[in-house]
Subunit: 392 residues, 2 copies
């Protein structure tokens, strides 16, 4: 059925030809003829359609072996813009970017996700419009990408029983935003979106990457064979409630005990420090203590890293990624977290899975969300079917 | 680059059109025109090429709204055959099947994989040729699929440091078999091949499936978004050396302790029974005892199931499959193993991931390997690029 849909929505073939230009390499008409097996006249017509849309632009002349050198063309990511939205429990970050994730304008503010979809999405529309005005590119908006701090049904873009988002259950986020911004709206959970942001901006050539967010909760976004893998109900990557081997049997908000989140999430680390008299209740407090040089805090973060490492060792056996990226607020405490993780993963995994494995801290940190939302939104409008629709 | 290769090897477009017929639905030329957006003359020419190859055959007339009813066409999987080979430590199973996995002839015998690739693959060629002769289809052979009991580098089809296959490290299995059988040879590890066999024959509509083999070792094959996922080095799904939470700290052959395999593999279950005086050292002994009504053996299998369930609960959180299939020799002990697994998975996983999850015993059992090898071989020759090559 997927194959059918793919064919049925591809009346022109412009979209497929466009994929050959998408990597930015300049190509001549003759190269496109050779690569597609299509006739010279068909290719010429398709190039004209793409030039007219602005999505492809002239890229000078190729070197010639004699005669007039042929013209080349390449993808022009600056031709359109997307609105990227990263919503957390207490923050909203928005950016207007081009189709290659180049940030043209951005904005961040404190919000309360618990204010519900009406108020929060109203703020998003208002701030988004201001950013678009600021860049002068409102007419070039082609899509919106949104990351939400809870489970999202991928096919509909609606949150499903999100624990920290009261009032958002089954909210039609794409419908609400689409009605006011008049473009397609893509929605996913924040961890998948962060994984996409880190992957597209820092590791574009890596096919197997696991992005781990360590904050109040602990979750991951899985990239296998170059794509986010969401699983049957979209809950793939949910590390927070995996049982920790040899960890303390602490009660978890899910009703079980010994879950990774209950043992190694930000509040769990803070609780260890508070028991020794420190003034800490959140991951932010822990990060502040570590940055202030508090040794007990550094040790607690490293110990949390070891517990996370135990679960990640299982992930390495199961997924065989070549890169694990550690992000989220607690990762801002610096190398202690990654050091604890590495210690256990390299001890507990088989050599075949770890010989080429890199475990690194996030390079995008606070920006992973907007970069991922931008990549998700751009990817949607650059698909073969979407390009065909533009070209009609 | 993948996109480029795809385009560069698709001069005719016959292969892509063929994908529309592959599900077996009869289609008219007019439907193919509508689905592809290609011209009527192009479609007519491509249908002729496929009819000439035999891969597509007439399927009678469609109902008509007036005038002469149009002819329909569909995929004819009986047009070619593949050789499917399932090699274990001590067994070889071979089958000649058509392109839909229909078994035309099969053969099984005891072998010793430790005899090395020269002797074992010599036997495979000899028995394969006999099966082909027996079916009278030797000239219709288009590919060979092989499952091996050890890690295989997917891109080359060569075993990599396989622990129970002395003499096989880096052996050019595709080269050795291809030189004598003159068709492409696809090789993968046995668990991936079994996953493919169970998926293609029993769960073709399920996009997210985990196949778990419980035998001397414990491993899994991961299907996400409809495809086997192998990870960066091809070791994805390697459950055997994940640490068991709350299990006995038994030494494992990998050098660590408390690995799933050391706690719940066939020999580990046998060791528990032997300590109480039973005559058991292998998984086969355990299965025999269970079948003979030995209560201690049933209990030990159920307890092993619980340990496996603990690791599978983590897999459920991470992969969110909709079906977990339990196969391998120990699964032949009956429902005890699956019951122990279910008990822990449903207790330890979050509702979102388990509400639609089914955990079932393998339905193909001993045949999963050959069915998977057949599916892998057929899939290779039915890809767009391969069909284009046939059509030239």
């Amino acid at each position: 059925m997927d194959e059918l849909t793919k064919f049925a929505t591809r009346p022109t073939g412009v979209g497929e030809m466009f994929q050959l230009l998408r990597d930015g390499t300049p190509r001549t008409r003759a190269e496109l003829v050779a690569l597609t097996g299509q006739s010279r006249s068909t290719i010429a017509a398709r190039v004209d359609v793409l030039l007219a849309s602005g999505l492809v632009s002239p890229a000078g002349e190729a070197t010639s072996t004699g005669g007039r050198p042929p013209a080349t063309f390449r993808f022009n990511p600056a031709a359109r813009v997307v609105l990227a939205v990263d919503l957390g429990a207490t923050h909203a970050r928005l950016a207007v970017t081009d189709l290659a994730g180049e940030v043209l304008a951005e904005h961040a503010e404190q919000i309360a996700i618990a204010d519900g979809p009406g108020e929060v999405l109203g703020t998003v529309v208002d701030r988004g419009r201001k950013l678009l005005e600021q860049t002068g590119r409102a007419d070039d908006l082609v899509s919106v990408g949104v990351g939400l701090p809870g489970p999202v049904e991928h096919s509909t873009g609606r949150p499903i029983n999100p624990p920290i988002m009261p009032g958002w259950d089954d909210a039609d986020v794409p419908g609400i935003l689409g009605a006011r911004l008049h473009v397609p709206v893509l929605v996913d959970n924040d961890v998948n979106v962060m994984a996409l942001g880190e992957h597209s901006s820092q590791w574009p050539g890596t096919d197997h990457l696991l992005f781990v967010k360590v904050a109040t909760g602990i979750g991951s976004g899985i990239i296998m064979d170059g794509q986010i893998r969401r699983g049957a109900q979209g809950s793939a990557g949910d590390l927070g409630h995996i049982a920790v081997a040899d960890g303390p049997d602490l009660p978890c908000r899910c009703g079980n005990t010994g879950c990774l989140e209950a043992v190694a999430g930000g509040p769990a680390i803070a609780a260890v420090l508070a028991a020794d008299g420190a003034d800490a209740s959140t991951g932010a407090d822990v990060v502040a203590l570590v940055r202030a040089g508090d040794l007990a805090a550094s040790h607690a973060v490293r110990e949390a890293g070891r517990h996370i490492g135990g679960v990640l060792a299982a992930c390495v056996s199961l997924l065989n990624p070549s890169v694990i990226v550690i992000g989220g607020q607690v990762a801002e405490a610096g190398e202690h977290l990654v050091a604890g993780i590495r210690e256990v993963v390299y001890r507990r995994s088989l050599p075949l899975a770890t010989q080429h494995l890199r475990i690194v801290a996030s390079r995008t940190m606070g920006r992973a969300g907007v970069l991922g939302a931008s990549a998700m939104a751009a990817d949607h409008v650059l698909s073969p079917a979407a390009i065909d629709a533009i070209a009609v």
